[in-house]
């Protein structure tokens, strides 16, 4: 059956193969091409943002100011965050969604292919503008990625470019999210009803709703900054009757769901990978769906836990503390379900599995420090210290980034048709894991001992842990070069079979490796579909 489908596709390819040269990429409406562009773009941004992180860590390696001025240091922390959040992590997940969702639900392409092209090509423009600010009078934005007024209004010529690039990123995300929702809701194979969808598709469906809900809020907030700066409004200026704290409420109403935008697809990825390498079905598929939905819902009512020090009424602080603590319950369900999936399985430890296990371990550490942060009186001590830096890097680096690495290794043979270099992959995992912990674990101690975040220089009692963190960061950065090596040699390995792994589930494994340019021109019949999930 699979072969028959494949043959049909091959025949088709001759008529509608990709165009040649640059036109293929500029004008493509093919979900695989667009997915590839998203992934390559996010990898480039990962290295650009990573280079900025290394500027930060080099300066912080020792107390005293060695390499950069404080102004530039602040530009680096700001740009590092904006680029990693909007340029690396989010587009990488959208790239995976583009590549995999149509193949996982048996659709021929995304529902809105021209918009798909557009939502990608906005991104290089957005980040071109953002990076150009580094060369403008007054330098790049330096007020932190949270852009709190009034400080952000002190940005130089870069200010309108910052706002416009954030608008563009939001536009791209919203279009991507609409496309994903329409695709999932309308283009599933016959008989793939909602609760039968693979977990990655589910978590992306929920994520896409979050994006549509909150990206316009961010756009509104930055537009108000723009009018405060240029058109004499006072939304956030106390002198004109405005309220600087209002910006923080609006920003975090976007910002907290944003956190889950960056982790829910990661949950989906490891929920695909752990069953494959445990040779067991995912434990509690439906409860995973309910847990992800609960997390998404709760993410809208916890935003002010980022603001326990701004002076809120007691009742407000209580509400946000309790609501935040509640998130631990569905998140716990996720972790327990992954462990129950491994339990009594027959596990093997290929690179995707290693990165997924690293994810479960280290994300859980980040989750536990998150629980500590939920406790409002203690949060008053942790807030804006390196403890917070440690916490969110634990959930974002060995969380989101590790899941992306896991996904890349897991589906790479399906994309290229060849097995990647497993030895290099394992080295990539072990070095990354060692160095990510060396970088971020000491930061917990720094924060508890009283080191604030976003400072270019620090008192000498913080010297040793900072040194460790800097060594770790350089090591982590170098480890990622192994990944580049894996990608460059991706087509040098053995040819991959259609199923690639021993027992993967899902429709994407029923098409040939490499996946032909067009897949599922006709929806898979029920039998293929059921075989795929056996």
């Amino acid at each position: 059956m699979t072969t028959a489908v494949a043959d049909a596709h091959d025949a088709h390819d001759e008529h509608h193969g990709p165009e040649k040269g640059i036109r293929r990429w500029l004008f493509t409406t093919n979900h695989k091409d667009i997915g590839t562009m998203y992934l390559v773009f996010s990898l480039i941004m990962f290295f650009v943002g990573g280079a900025m992180a290394l500027v930060i860590r080099s300066e912080l390696m020792q107390p005293g100011l060695q390499f950069v001025h404080p102004e530039f240091f602040n530009q680096m922390t700001t740009m590092h965050a904006l680029i990693m959040v909007f340029g690396a992590v989010m587009p990488a997940f959208v790239g995976l969604a583009n590549w995999m969702i149509p193949m996982m639900i048996g659709a021929p392409d995304m529902a809105l292919p021209r918009m798909n092209n557009w939502s990608f090509w906005i991104l290089p423009v957005a980040f071109g503008l953002l990076l150009a600010t580094l060369f403008m009078p007054g330098g790049a934005p330096a007020s932190g990625w949270t852009m709190y007024p009034p400080l952000v209004l002190q940005t130089g010529d870069a200010f309108p470019f910052l706002i416009f690039s954030v608008h563009l990123m939001g536009l791209s995300s919203i279009m991507g999210a609409i496309n994903i929702i329409v695709t999932i809701l309308n283009m599933r194979a016959p008989d793939m009803w909602l609760l039968k969808m693979p977990m990655f598709v589910w978590t992306w469906l929920i994520t896409a709703y979050l994006l549509i809900a909150v990206m316009p809020v961010l756009a509104g907030a930055v537009t108000m900054l723009l009018t405060d700066q240029f058109f004499g409004t006072s939304f956030f200026l106390a002198a004109g009757g405005g309220d600087p704290v209002m910006f923080q409420h609006i920003f975090w109403f976007f910002g907290h769901p944003e956190v889950y935008i960056m982790i829910l697809p990661a949950f989906g990825i490891v929920s695909e990978i752990i069953p494959t390498f445990s040779r067991k079905p995912l434990f509690g598929h439906d409860s995973m769906v309910y847990a992800a939905s609960s997390i998404a819902f709760l993410s809208f009512i916890v935003w002010a836990h980022h603001m326990f020090t701004v002076g809120m009424p007691l009742s407000g602080q209580m509400f946000f503390m309790f609501a935040t603590m509640l998130i631990a319950v569905p998140t716990g369900v996720k972790v327990f379900n992954w462990i129950a999936t491994m339990w009594k399985g027959a596990m093997t430890f290929e690179t995707p599995m290693l990165f997924s296990l690293g994810f479960v371990f280290l994300f859980t550490i980040g989750g536990l420090s998150g629980l500590m942060l939920a406790i409002a009186p203690a949060d008053i001590q942790y807030h804006d210290s390196y403890f917070v830096v440690a916490h969110f890097h634990y959930v974002l680096v060995p969380g989101s980034i590790f899941s992306l690495m896991a996904a890349a290794y897991y589906w790479l043979p399906k994309w290229t048709g060849y097995m990647y270099n497993e030895t290099a992959g394992k080295w990539h995992f072990w070095t990354s894991t060692f160095f990510v912990n060396l970088t971020f674990f000491p930061m917990h101690f720094l924060g508890l001992a009283g080191m604030p975040r976003r400072i270019p220089d620090y008192s000498t009692q913080f010297a040793d842990f900072n040194f460790m963190a800097s060594v770790g960061a350089i090591g982590f950065g170098l480890s990622q070069l192994i990944f580049v090596y894996v990608l460059l040699t991706a087509k040098k390995g053995e040819e991959a079979s259609d199923r690639v792994w021993e027992a993967p589930k899902g429709l994407e494994w029923t098409v040939p490796s490499p996946a032909p340019y067009h897949t599922f021109d006709t929806p898979p019949v029920k039998r293929v579909h059921e075989e795929a999930f056996e």
Binding site: P63, G64, L65, Q66, H69, P70, N74, A142, G144, Y148, P150, L151, Q154, A238, D243, P244, K280, L282, F283, G284, T309, G311, L314, M318, M325, V329, G332, V333, F336, I339, A340, W343, K344, A346, M347, T348, L357, T364, L371, M372, I375, P377, A378, I380, Q381, S385, N437, F445, L448, A449, G450, R453, R454, P456, S459, T460, D464, F467, M468, V471
Partner: protein, 278 residues
């Protein structure tokens, strides 16, 4: 410290870091790895809360990681494990939903109690208005006609710049020292009213367990009662521009009579200054 010693120290730290054994290094005697217990009743309560949640997290971690590691060791294909095919267990799912809820309730009660006390700034003995500026603090004793700026102390200021040539390890309390500290009496309830003149700052002294944003156009309120005398240091905690890292906070807690004596010298000083200005 000569160049050779610095290099040796660097190599040694590098080596230890690579081993992940940095904490065994004797390079600096003064390393804190935990939150200070602090010197107020509430800072100690906060510390206890922090430790309680921390130990709960350790306990949860031991159980979760324990089960996971056991599974990783036992249920591997290379050990000949055969994969079971179960994918549901309502009992298990109910249990691991309810147990976390119970643990959360155990944490929530003391947290809420401390929260309520933190917000109770009634009946202060002394009120100080704290104003954040780019990049210094201003203190005004509300009923005493005393006010002054508090800025980074000269030794740190000289050493802080790139190519200053100074070894910051030779500067006492590098970046954590000011020219004029906030002076408060021991055992008295001190209320702080915080605001800012330009952008948002945040007044943080870990030993007092106080971190409160100083926001332009708004007045925030917090309080503490120091139970010990001594010098306690902190920093601005909200990014406030290029010299955000250079506006430390020093609180000097003194006995009450010493505080009165200090007040007297200060108000004389202000009176003279006022006269001179006239």
């Amino acid at each position: 410290m000569g160049a050779t010693t610095v290099n040796n120290l660097m190599l040694r730290k590098l080596f230890l870091s690579l081993l992940g054994l940095g904490w065994a290094s004797a390079a600096s005697a003064d390393w804190a790895i935990n939150m200070p217990r602090g010197i107020t009743e509430l800072s100690q309560e906060t510390f206890d809360l922090h430790m309680m949640v921390f130990w709960w997290c350790v306990a949860i971690g031991v159980v979760v990681f324990g089960v996971m590691i056991y599974s990783l060791l036992k249920h591997r294909k290379s050990k000949g494990a055969e994969a079971a095919q179960f994918s549901h267990s309502t009992t298990a799912e109910v249990v691991w939903t309810i147990i976390p809820v119970i643990i959360l309730l155990i944490m929530a009660v003391p947290a809420a109690e401390t929260m309520i006390k933190l917000e109770d700034s009634r009946d202060p003995d002394l009120t100080v208005v704290v104003t954040g500026y780019q990049w210094k603090w201003h203190y005004k004793y509300q009923d005493q006609d005393i006010d002054y700026y508090s800025t980074l102390a000269m030794p740190s200021l000289k050493a802080r710049f790139k190519d200053s040539g100074a070894d910051v390890f030779d500067v006492d309390n590098y970046l954590l020292d000011v020219d004029r500290p906030l002076v408060v009496p021991k055992g008295k309830k001190v209320r702080l009213l915080l605001t800012a003149n330009d952008v948002i700052h945040s007044w943080w002294v870990p030993d007092l367990a106080i971190k409160k944003d100083a926001i332009p156009g708004m007045v925030n309120e917090t309080w503490f009662r120091a139970l010990e005398t001594g010098t306690f240091r902190g920093q601005c905690a909200e990014l406030c521009g290029k010299d955000h890292g250079y506006m430390p906070i020093v609180v000097e807690v003194v006995e009450e009579d010493a505080f009165q004596a200090w007040l007297d010298t200060q108000s004389e000083g202000s009176a003279q200054l006022a006269q001179a200005e006239n």
